[in-house]
Every structure is written in structure tokens, then in C-alpha cells.
């Protein structure tokens, strides 16, 4: 038994206008100061006010939202009593909006205890709309919530199937002005979602097609979106790819590249998409050396017109294709290129290994590394050695 869940996805030009028909009394927009500065929050506010809703904005979400921020946002919701919550931004504001919403509905919950096991009975007070302003996170189409315990320097992979947004507004107009580095980081995040959603142990027939399409869209359009931000077709396709990949991995799982990337990001503050995608080729090389018959790289390679006469060949071709894309996007392919020194890495290794092992994404890998292997994965990624163990 398993599940497939998706929000109502409104996509394309003028998708934001769909909210003009929204029925309700009060909406709280959860976002960050950058999004406010870009005018996106005002744009959404006008549409919601046009629908007759009273609107407030909570704009204090930081990158990698903390437990404290989530509690502050939940308090703002309790004071304002919205019946709609609008997560507007990249993954951080949307994930934060999900967690704040849960605490608004369930003030008895510990945010670190948000889990997919208990029935939460959400939607007694409000429903959730997600509007992504980057093309990568896919958070608008998943129930995943990533929060950061700043005291423990640890990212927490949380979520409940109930916190999936009711409506996702996938409107490419929000991403036309993304700078190239953000385009690359977030686009590589989408590719990692597509790869891991297709190759983790929770893959299934309902999610596979979404992951395949998303990976192909990224390979076909990310370079164009990065080189020429005014390429409307590339921007649009990448925006769709991110949400499609979200639906794909959101209905299977993320995997080891996320386990490693979450751990790295919490300690060294490497942006999420850059961190998880950096590890992707290393993880492919690691998993293909696991038990024969456990991987499924052939299908992914075949769909992307890469060599695939064997699983090993497919894995090698996929790892190379990711590295080629990273190179074209001028993305770091090693930890050293992220300005992490060997001394830095050694100093933090115990924490990195512990957090990777306890990340909920790690256990969905077709090959789960033990502590020694996790350590070696970080060491190999430091200077870019292909995995040979």
C-alpha cells in the first residue's frame, strides 16, 4: 500500500489570476524580505484583496527556516486567524508556511515532531496555497517540510501527507528575473529530485513518469535558462520541471544525495540545491556498487538518450551527464570548490556523519552507507575523486 497525492496545480501564464475566485475571509502570506522587495508579495496581496480577503504578510522567513521562526509564524497566524495561508517564495517560505500552518491548527505539537505517521486533522482552520518563486524546490507539490535546528546545526526532514498544499500556483512570471546562480542552484535541485525520486527504494509506477519527464525537462532547458534569463520558453519549462519533479519525488522519496546535502548545508551553509546536486554523481557511483539488481539507472538513462546497455553503463553515463551539466552551469563539483577545506571537513566530520545517518532521506537509498562509508563519501567529494568503493 502506498499513496499518490497532488495539489490542484494551476500552471502557465496568468495562473496567479486563479486566486481572484478564491472564497474566504483572511489570508496570511508567508514569505521573506527579498520576495517582498521584488514586489511579489504586493502582487499576490492585490489579487487576494481583489477576491475580498483581508491580507497580512509574515516576511520573516530566513533561508533554511528555524524552529523558532516557525513558532513565530504560527503565533502570527493565531493572532490573525487566517482561513487561507499562502506560502510565497522558494522552498524556505513554503516549507515554513506548512510547518506554521500545522502549529496553527495543532498548537499542541512540537515542530520537531511533525511526522507522516499521526493523523493531524488539518484544514479545520485554514487551507494552504503555495506559489513558488524559484524553479527547483518543488515544495509547492510535496508534503515535505525541511526545518533547521540551529542549536544542533541539523536539518530535519519532516512532514505529513496532510500538509500538502491545496493549490499550487505555478506561474512562470514569478521566476523571469531570477539571477543565474539561483537559476542554477534551484534547477539542479529539481534534477536531484527527479533522479532520486526515480531511483530510491520507494519509487513506484505513479511517480516514475513524473520523475522521468522532469529530468528530461531539466536536461533540455536548464542550460538555456541559465545562459539567457530572458528565454521565456526555458524559464517556463524549468518552472514546470520543478513542480513535476516535486510531485515525482514527493510521492516516492528523496534519497542519499539529500541525506548528505542536508547534513552539509546545515553545517557549512551551502545552498540546498547546490549541496544535494553536488553529491548526486557520487551517490550514483556509490549505489551502482551495491547489491546487483537493486538500482534502476537504465530507465532514466534511456529516457534521456544516454548509453544504457547495462546498469553500470547507465549509471556512468548519468553521473557524467550530471557533471557535464554542473560544469556548464559553473556549479561546484567538489566540497573544496565550496571553499570547504580538509581541516574544516575533519573538524565537523563526526556531526556530518551522525546527521547523514539520521536523515530520513538516507534510509531510502538502494545502498545505505554505514558510518565509515559516509565519511569516505565526504572525503571523496572534497577533492572530486570518483567513488571506487
Amino acid at each position: 500500500m502506498w499513496f499518490f497525492k497532488s495539489p490542484e496545480v494551476v500552471f502557465g501564464e496568468e495562473a496567479l489570476g486563479y486566486l481572484e475566485r478564491l472564497e474566504g475571509k483572511r489570508a496570511l502570506i508567508v514569505t521573506d524580505e527579498v520576495i517582498v522587495g521584488l514586489g511579489h508579495a504586493d502582487r499576490v496581496r492585490r489579487v487576494l484583496e481583489g477576491a475580498g480577503l483581508k491580507v497580512e504578510v509574515f516576511d520573516r522567513v530566513e533561508p533554511n527556516p528555524s524552529l523558532e521562526t516557525v513558532q513565530a509564524g504560527a503565533a502570527a497566524m493565531t493572532a490573525f486567524q487566517p482561513d487561507w495561508i499562502v506560502g510565497l517564495g522558494g522552498g524556505s517560505p513554503i516549507d515554513a508556511a506548512k510547518a506554521m500552518w500545522i502549529l496553527y491548527e495543532r498548537p499542541d505539537m512540537d515542530p520537531e515532531g511533525i511526522n507522516p505517521i499521526e493523523i493531524l486533522h488539518l484544514r479545520r482552520k485554514a487551507r494552504l496555497i503555495a506559489i513558488p518563486t524559484t524553479s527547483g524546490t518543488g515544495s509547492d507539490a510535496t508534503w515535505a517540510v525541511v526545518l533547521t535546528n540551529t542549536a544542533e546545526r541539523r536539518k530535519l526532514g519532516l512532514g505529513s501527507r496532510e500538509d500538502l498544499p491545496d493549490i499550487a500556483i505555478v506561474d512562470p512570471s514569478f521566476v523571469m528575473a531570477m539571477p543565474p546562480r539561483l537559476t542554477a542552484d534551484t534547477g539542479m535541485d529539481a534534477l536531484t529530485h527527479a533522479f532520486e525520486g526515480y531511483t530510491c527504494v520507494y519509487r513506484n509506477d505513479f511517480s516514475d513518469g513524473l520523475c522521468l519527464i522532469a529530468a528530461r525537462l531539466v536536461f533540455n532547458y536548464l542550460r538555456r535558462a541559465y545562459r539567457d534569463g530572458t528565454d521565456v520558453e526555458a524559464r517556463t519549462k524549468m518552472h514546470y520541471a520543478a513542480s513535476i519533479a516535486g510531485m515525482g519525488f514527493g510521492n516516492s522519496m528523496a534519497s542519499l544525495a539529500h541525506g548528505l546535502g542536508h547534513s552539509l548545508g546545515a553545517v557549512f551553509h551551502v545552498p540546498h540545491g547546490r549541496a544535494v546536486s553536488l553529491f548526486l554523481p557520487y551517490v550514483i557511483e556509490f549505489c551502482i556498487r551495491g547489491d546487483p539488481g537493486t538500482t534502476c539507472y537504465g530507465g532514466l538513462a534511456r529516457f534521456n538518450d544516454l548509453p544504457c546497455s547495462s546498469e553500470a553503463e547507465a549509471a556512468s553515463a548519468l553521473a557524467q551527464a550530471v557533471r557535464d551539466l554542473q560544469k556548464d552551469l559553473e556549479q561546484p563539483t567538489t566540497l573544496a570548490a565550496c571553499e570547504i577545506t580538509r581541516q574544516d571537513l575533519e573538524k565537523e566530520m563526526v556531526l556530518l556523519v551522525f546527521n547523514t545517518g539520521n536523515d530520513s532521506s538516507t534510509v531510502t537509498s538502494t545502498r545505505i552507507p554505514d558510518d565509515v562509508e559516509v565519511r569516505r563519501l565526504y572525503e571523496y567529494a572534497l577533492d572530486g575523486r570518483p567513488i571506487d568503493f
Binding site: W2, D110, P116, I117, G357, V363
Partner: protein, 135 residues
Amino acid sequence: MTFKFPSDEWIKALMEELNRSPAYAEAAATWEGDFYFLADIPGADKPAMLYMDLWHGKCREAFLVTDESAKTPAFRMSATLDVWKKVLAKKLDPIQGLMTGQLKLKGNMAMVMKSVKASKELVEACTRVPTEYAA
């Protein structure tokens, strides 16, 4: 030698398995919390109940429970015997079992969500106990 599940012998065999597992000792080094494991047996008027006291990477005590009020454990995990069979045979991923409601868990979920590796090693140890079933 095999151990009948659920029984006092089986849970004590699991205790021994855990206490000789360096992987569990390391993964659960900070874990503090005892469990009731409940199995609904067809035809029985009440579930079979096993107790484990898990503390800092070791199992301090384990036994078949005859009086439910004997302990007030931090966690209770329950399932039908058929579901336990699938978990112990590695035919059902316990996380998937929990997410789909086939396995039910009550307790401090924040602790559980932060202890993925200890949970995995606990299940791995369960699958290493040679097991036979009453029904």
C-alpha cells in the same frame, strides 16, 4: 534454534542480539525510551505484548508482558501478527508500514523523527532473530 514470535524467549533473544550489535550501540547511543510491542493474534481476546527497555544503545530489560499495567512505556507500537511477520521477514519496510497505518506508533514523535538510524538498526536486529510463528 528458532524462537516463537511473540514470546518471552523471542524478546530475550532480541535483547541479546541488540546488546551484541555495535551498529545499534552506536546508532542508539543517545536513545532513552522503553517500548511495548503489541501483536494482535487471530482468535486471541487481547494482544500479545512484549516489553523492551532501550537505553543509550543497550537493552536493559525485555520480557513478555502479562500485566499491561506493569510498565508505562514511552512508546507503544502495535500491528497484526501478519504485519509483524512481513516486517520481520523484511517484506514490509517499517517506515512504509508506519506511514500507511499498518504499524501504529504512539509516543514522542520528535524523538522518533530524530532517530532514524537507531530505528533502522533495531529492525535489522529483529530480522536477525531466527523466528517461527504460533499462527
